[in-house]
């Protein structure tokens, strides 16, 4: 995380009121800086990445996150003597629930997803993994490469480098007693 860092979140939650209020002010500045960054890169973002940057998944329960890489086959237009004649494709899927709604973020990766552990002294529960804050950015200022950084309630940070993303939403119907009886 560049703006909403786990350390800043920890300070914002400090039992020391002065430290907590200082972090509150720092968070204000981080929000301004992040908004300015988003504005400056917005013209370089495809519509799906803009949608990703406008999502609010705060408090959503992370039910699944995984990465899968597989060979996409030999590249016919590259000489076999070339050291890397094979193309690999990798996908990461992060699924969260918000009430009855499931939101899956399906990323076509440009590199491996990285996971950073919680900073030392992370005092929050690790029983459930919930979405806290996230940032969307362009990767190394290169057009067509993006990164999604996600801070989870366990203090873990995900950094997902990607070229495209699909946001898939669906609702899981509530199983009523009547439906249970008829089954």
């Amino acid at each position: 995380m560049k703006y909403f860092t786990p350390e800043l979140y920890q300070q914002f939650n400090s039992f020391d009121v002065i430290e907590a209020e200082r972090a509150d002010e720092a968070w204000d500045q981080a929000e301004v800086a992040y908004r300015e960054r988003l504005t400056s890169i917005r013209d370089h973002l495809p519509s799906q990445v803009v949608k990703l940057s406008e999502l609010c998944l705060h408090d959503a329960l992370v039910v699944s996150r995984e990465e899968q890489a597989q060979p996409a086959g030999e590249l016919p237009f590259i000489d076999r003597d070339y050291p890397f004649p094979f193309l690999w494709s990798a996908v990461a899927i992060v699924s969260v629930t918000l009430g009855e709604q499931v939101v899956s973020l399906i990323y076509c990766l440009s590199d491996h997803l990285t996971t950073k552990p919680a900073p030392e002294g992370w005092r929050f529960s690790k029983i459930q993994e919930q979405w806290l804050y996230d940032e969307v950015d362009v990767l190394n200022d290169r057009r067509g490469l993006f990164v999604h950084r996600i801070l989870l309630s366990t203090g873990v940070t995900l950094e997902i480098p990607f070229v495209s993303v699909i946001i898939h939403r669906f609702t899981v119907p509530v199983v009523t007693n009547l439906a249970k009886q008829s089954a």
Partner: protein, 121 residues
């Protein structure tokens, strides 16, 4: 004749400041993250009971820090472990910072507090 000691003058800033008036309300959620107060105001004990039933409450007053501390105390008394959250940047213009149980579990309630720039309706 003994000299009378001059009493040290109290500085103005050392005067006890009157406590900023604070009010607690039960709250319901509106659109764009809005927090809507339910009149009349309630006391701290009632707020704790509402939070224990997973409802929403909001602490209002001119001093943001005092509001935050009061909200923290309510959440602490109601649920024990808490975490303090700023509204997500995309949560909507009317969203308020709040305290909530940690871990969240199946609960949905919050203890919101008013700030200099974010106010309940």
């Amino acid at each position: 004749m003994a000299r009378r000691r001059k009493k040290p003058q109290k500085e103005a800033s050392a005067e006890p400041q009157p406590a900023a008036p604070q009010h607690i309300y039960e709250a319901r959620l509106g659109t764009n993250g809005a927090v809507i107060r339910v009149l009349p105001p309630i006391d701290q004990v009632q707020a704790i009971v509402i939070r224990q039933r997973d409802g929403n409450v909001v602490v209002c007053g001119p001093n943001k820090t005092a509001n935050s501390v009061m909200a923290r105390d309510i959440e602490q008394a109601a649920n024990g472990h808490w975490k303090r959250c700023r509204p997500h940047i995309n949560a909507g213009p009317n969203a308020l910072p709040h305290y909530q149980p940690d871990p969240r579990g199946q609960t949905i309630g919050h203890t919101f507090y008013e700030t200099d720039t974010k106010h309940p309706l």
